[in-house]
């Protein structure tokens, strides 16, 4: 009984001093200092881009890089969008924007569909040599693009799809396959196999189980896949330059053309506006869906 007794003195002492974590310990100050400096460091280029794009050329020539624009105007943005010159044509980067949309939308949908299909087949159906097939697919993910560029050019030329929309969509689908397959395979590894067995007994075949059961269950991981593919394909420069063909050059390539077209004065404000416009899509995707991205990643990692 004596061990249960509490010293009344110590008890009252505890009530007097309820511990509350102080907001300003040296460690906290150090932490905030580090976070704020790194935020400033990474935001400075963005700041310069935005302010420069809002200034007229006369103000830029003064050389005050960090000064706020005295009379902010969106003239440079309009010019970048609709009348900046990319080589000989002067239609702005809107052409590239729509080309990118035409490339990104089908590539994202097709690569996710096949990635999910691969992951599903590898996880639930006893595929002969499944381990080897998956290994080879993964191996593909570690070979640099540049190495495969020339063979791919020859292959797509042979297939007659070099320099066409079909060609670039196919290339993006193929390059997206390893990561998409890995993503979905890991997600489906967390799905209880009994679910699949129950569906088999209920009479579901390969496609029905995939489309009616597995795909609706995959929404969190599909969100992740969409974000990954959308930003990757949008940001791609090399594959678009090589495979898309003159008619379908994506926005990133057009942006490069805008900036490198040197006739007379360099229009820094237009260049900056064009750059912001180009990066707006992946930026928006991250800002809007970052929450889902994190949730999807963890949903894929943990069972349930």
């Amino acid at each position: 009984m004596s061990t249960v007794m509490v010293n009344p003195g110590s008890q009252s002492h505890r009530q007097v001093a309820p511990r509350k974590r102080s907001a300003f310990t040296p460690a906290r100050i150090g932490l905030y200092a580090l976070l704020i400096t790194s935020a400033i460091f990474f935001l400075i280029p963005l700041y310069v881009m935005v302010t420069t794009s809002l200034k007229p050329m006369e103000e830029i020539r003064l050389g005050n890089l960090f000064a706020l624009p005295s009379k902010p105007s969106f003239d440079a943005w309009v010019e970048a969008w609709s009348s900046a010159c990319t080589g000989l044509e002067c239609q702005g980067i809107q052409v590239g924007f729509w080309n990118s949309v035409k490339i990104v939308v089908p590539s994202t949908i097709i690569s996710i569909f096949f990635g999910a299909l691969n992951g599903y087949a590898l996880s639930f159906w006893r595929v002969r040599w499944a381990g080897w097939l998956f290994g080879i697919l993964m191996f593909g993910a570690f070979v640099p693009y540049q190495v495969m560029l020339y063979p791919l050019v020859r292959t797509s030329a042979m297939l007659g799809i070099f320099g066409s929309l079909t060609g670039i969509v196919l290339i993006h689908t193929v390059f997206g396959m390893p990561v998409m397959t890995l993503l979905f395979r890991n997600y489906y590894a967390g799905v209880p196999v009994e679910l699949f067995k129950a569906a088999r007994i209920d009479g579901g075949g390969f496609w029905r189980i995939f489309i009616q059961l597995m795909l609706p269950m995959s929404l969190p991981i599909i969100a992740v896949a969409v974000i990954m593919q959308l930003t990757n394909i949008w940001n791609d420069f090399l594959l678009g330059l090589v495979f898309a063909g003159r008619e379908n050059l994506p926005m990133t390539v057009q942006l490069n053309n805008v900036i490198n077209t040197t006739t007379g004065e360099r229009l820094y404000n237009v260049n900056m506006a064009a750059t912001i416009l180009t990066s707006l899509v992946p930026l928006t995707v991250y800002l809007v869906s970052g929450r889902w991205f994190v949730r999807g990643i963890s949903a894929g990692a943990v069972k349930g």
Binding site: L195, K197, R200, I201, G203, G204
Partner: protein, 365 residues
Amino acid sequence: MSNVSIENLGIRLTGLDILKDLNLEVAAGEFLVLLGPSGCGKSTLLHSIAGLIDVHEGSMAIGGQDVTWADPKDRGIGMVFQSYALYPTMSVERNLSFGPRIAGVAKAEIAKRVDRAAKMLHLTELLNRKPSQLSGGQRQRVAIGRALVREASVFLFDEPLSNLDAKLRGELRRELKQLHKDLGATMIYVTHDQVEAMTLASRIAVMKQGKIQQIDTPANVYGKPANMFVAGFLGAPSMNFIEGTLQVASDGERTVLFVSPTLRADVSGYGFATPPKGGERVVLGIRPEHISLTEAGSERANGNALVSLVEPMGANQVVWLDAQGVSLAVDADAQFTVPALDRKIGFAIQSAQVSLFDLQSQERL
């Protein structure tokens, strides 16, 4: 209602023989329980009946039709899994109707079947809910309903109650028994829980290492176990085993005695398969409820022992005895006043209830 017959079934997974030369006949309308420790192949057997595991050799027929290589959906089976395996994105109603919808059953007929199953399983109010909004017991009822709606002639249960808490398990067990009575369908039920096996089964098949050790009514499996494994697996606390020898004395009337340092017992009334010659090394098995406690050194006592431990169970109490190094469990009345620990006490066995096993082969004599 269909019978299931399995002949010389062999199943090999990753190069290992899980089942070999297995024969099993399940009569139509029977409730067969496959009982055994984990890893004994009972689930593998069930999944192969469902068609989810490929057969390596042998054949199986359901309702007289060879289904060795038939697709799961063509076997007329319904299956209930331990993890419920409900389709998470579908409502209860869609879960129930998934099978018939695939099979192309007419809409009105599906609605009728779903309605009937829901009524039977008290799911009518829950039809629009998602599985995540149901409790464990409700989920398992939906899983059972899925098999009902399929109008399966053979129901397969893979440890369906193991994920539920004790109270719910008891309730659902009773509901299952009622369901079997109402439907009269053939049911094959895998479990490692002997209470489920005893209460539900019309026959129990006890399995060990891919072999059926004994297949009989619950009363016979419990009362006349075929070998020491079956004897030890059923019953809690499990059967007491005592090593000893048989002595045959034929002074006028032929009597057979079991003799060991722990106890002496007259086993003349035992139904020996072959009459003993005397001198055999045997193991005597006796269930705790067939031993009674007496005064130390009493006339009736078969032996004496020290009380080592008492476990009160409410309705009864388990008294553990130390009889010359052999530990014996005795099932005593709750009213019975047990002498203090380490006191000497006598015990008497009901010799009509003993089981005798060969020491070497562990088979029943």
